[in-house]
């Protein structure tokens, strides 16, 4: 048992977390998995603390996951979404956050379409802030649960080759995972059509491939991403069927992969586009393990952030 008393004020970017920080978070997460397996899945650790989920973009998994995590810790969890708040009446982010601050929340979980939104908010209030996705920038809690899911199945996070396939240009999940995997010395190759791979991404130390078939046999983990239709004015390829033919994962293509390969997807899944239904539901698919780990990781983060005072 490692006794690393790390101090992490906010969870904004995987770039802020050292390997030791991540290992400490996972060590704490293991304890919360035990709580999730109890008949009564609740502990009083955050009794009297308030967690606000402030979501300016749609979300099912992440918001629910944070809500369940907070409730299992006995925190009071409040959800604010764009459509149900005064944001739709023209209130600015600054005003929304200042008003929330006046209600003295302990942790603010923020999802926003603008990169850096969570970081900006930390300067406006005393509460701890968790970035639950800021534009195409980062989604650190997703990367943490992805790393944990990989560690569960490969027993290590080092020396692996991870392929991330799809809309890399718009993917905060890809960016956060690249930063996290590199911390542990794993290799990342991003795969997709040229129009979805940012120019110069090699500078971040990742491999690039425009040919999924050619590289699939070398991958230990395949992480499929959704085409983020809402962030494109028009599709950057002729049509979804053609995209699916070259970059979708189906049983036929999977035959070229290593026998112990595992498939991941941060969701939401577009079945039949980036992943065939029989692949998404197969035993080597870890999609639901990712969701399960998400609750435990977020419990650990809420607990660790609430456990110390500035």
């Amino acid at each position: 048992m490692k006794e690393t008393p790390v101090r992490i004020p906010h969870i904004l970017s995987m770039a802020d977390l050292s390997r030791e920080d991540i290992e400490f978070i996972f060590q704490t997460t293991d304890r919360f998995r035990e709580v999730g397996g109890r008949p009564i899945k609740k502990v009083p650790a955050l009794r009297g603390k308030t967690v606000i989920n402030l979501f300016f973009e749609n979300s099912t998994r992440t918001r629910t996951s944070f809500e369940i995590a907070g409730k299992r810790l006995s925190a009071d969890v409040i959800n604010i979404t764009k459509s149900s708040s005064s944001v739709s009446k023209g209130e600015s982010l600054l005003d929304t956050v200042k008003n929330l601050e006046a209600m003295a929340p302990d942790v603010l979980v923020v999802r926003h379409p603008a990169a850096g939104a969570a970081q900006t908010i930390t300067r406006m209030l005393k509460a701890r802030v968790i970035n639950a996705g800021d534009g195409a920038h980062e989604h650190p809690t997703q990367a943490l649960l992805d790393l944990l899911t990989i560690r569960d199945h490969k027993k290590t996070l080092s020396g692996l080759h991870v392929g991330i396939v799809g809309d890399i240009a718009h993917s905060r999940v890809a960016r956060s995972n690249i930063l996290g995997l590199q911390r542990f010395g794993s290799k990342v190759t991003v795969i997709g059509p040229k129009s979805l791979i940012p120019l110069g991404i090699e500078a971040f130390g990742v491999g690039v491939s425009y040919d999924f078939k050619a590289v699939i046999g070398d991958l230990d983990i395949i992480m499929m991403l959704r085409i983020q239709g809402e962030r494109h004015d028009r599709l950057p390829f002729p049509n979804l069927r053609e995209y699916s033919r070259f970059f979708g994962l189906n049983l036929q293509l999977l035959q070229k992969a290593k026998s112990d390969v595992v498939i991941m997807h941060p969701g939401p899944v577009n079945r039949g586009v980036e992943i065939a239904p029989e692949v998404a539901d197969a035993p080597y698919s870890l999609i639901l393990n990712q969701v399960k780990n998400g609750v435990a990781v977020r419990m650990a983060l809420l607990y660790l952030l609430s456990g110390t005072e500035e």
Binding site: V6, R38, V43, A45, T308
Partner: protein
């Protein structure tokens, strides 16, 4: 070792005698009221419970371990991030007679948290408490059922239980934090 701020309360041989006595007290009580299931509180309650199990010819791997961090009443007062350790109970809490084991009984707050942690896992028939050292100065109405030794120390003094398993040596010391 600085002799000026450290007093040895019990040496290894005295500690051994104390364990023997506690083990026989437990066995005596069990004759009257049925068997106990041992549950050690992190950190030193665990090796203490394991030693008692061995002295009573039971499997030391069958004791329960309890972490009370999620039940503390002073979470935000800690200056560093709390390290949560493993809670593992290899038997059903429901209906069992639990003997909680810890090293030092002081304010009673750890035991208060342990009672909550334990009852969240099930409904024991009863819970009893064993401590190696009772140093008094309780802040809650909690008493032990089995006690190795009662001592009277000053508020600025720390009673430190050192065990082979966790500290590499068997010894109980009183340390003056101001000296």
């Amino acid at each position: 070792m600085n002799a000026s701020n450290k007093n040895i309360l019990l040496e290894a041989i005295e500690l051994k005698a104390l364990f023997d006595r506690l083990a026989s007290e437990i066995k005596e009580r069990e004759v009257l009221s049925g068997p106990f299931q041992l549950v050690g509180i992190h950190t030193r309650g665990i090796p203490i419970a394991q030693r008692l199990a061995k002295l009573m010819n039971r499997d030391p791997d069958q004791i329960g371990t309890l972490d009370i961090n999620l039940y503390r009443d002073d979470l935000s007062q800690a200056s560093e991030m709390p390290v949560v350790k493993e809670t593992e109970i290899p038997f059903s809490i429901d209906g069992s007679r639990v003997l909680l084991v810890d090293d030092v009984l002081y304010t009673g707050r750890t035991i208060r948290a342990a009672l909550d942690a334990l009852t969240d896992l099930g409904r024991p028939k009863s819970i009893a408490l064993l401590v190696l050292i009772d140093r008094g100065e309780r802040e809650l109405p909690i008493q032990s059922d089995f006690c190795g030794k009662k001592v009277s120390v000053q508020p600025q003094e720390n009673v430190k239980v050192r065990l082979q398993e966790t500290d590499g040596v068997d010894r109980i010391e009183v340390i003056d934090r101001q000296a």
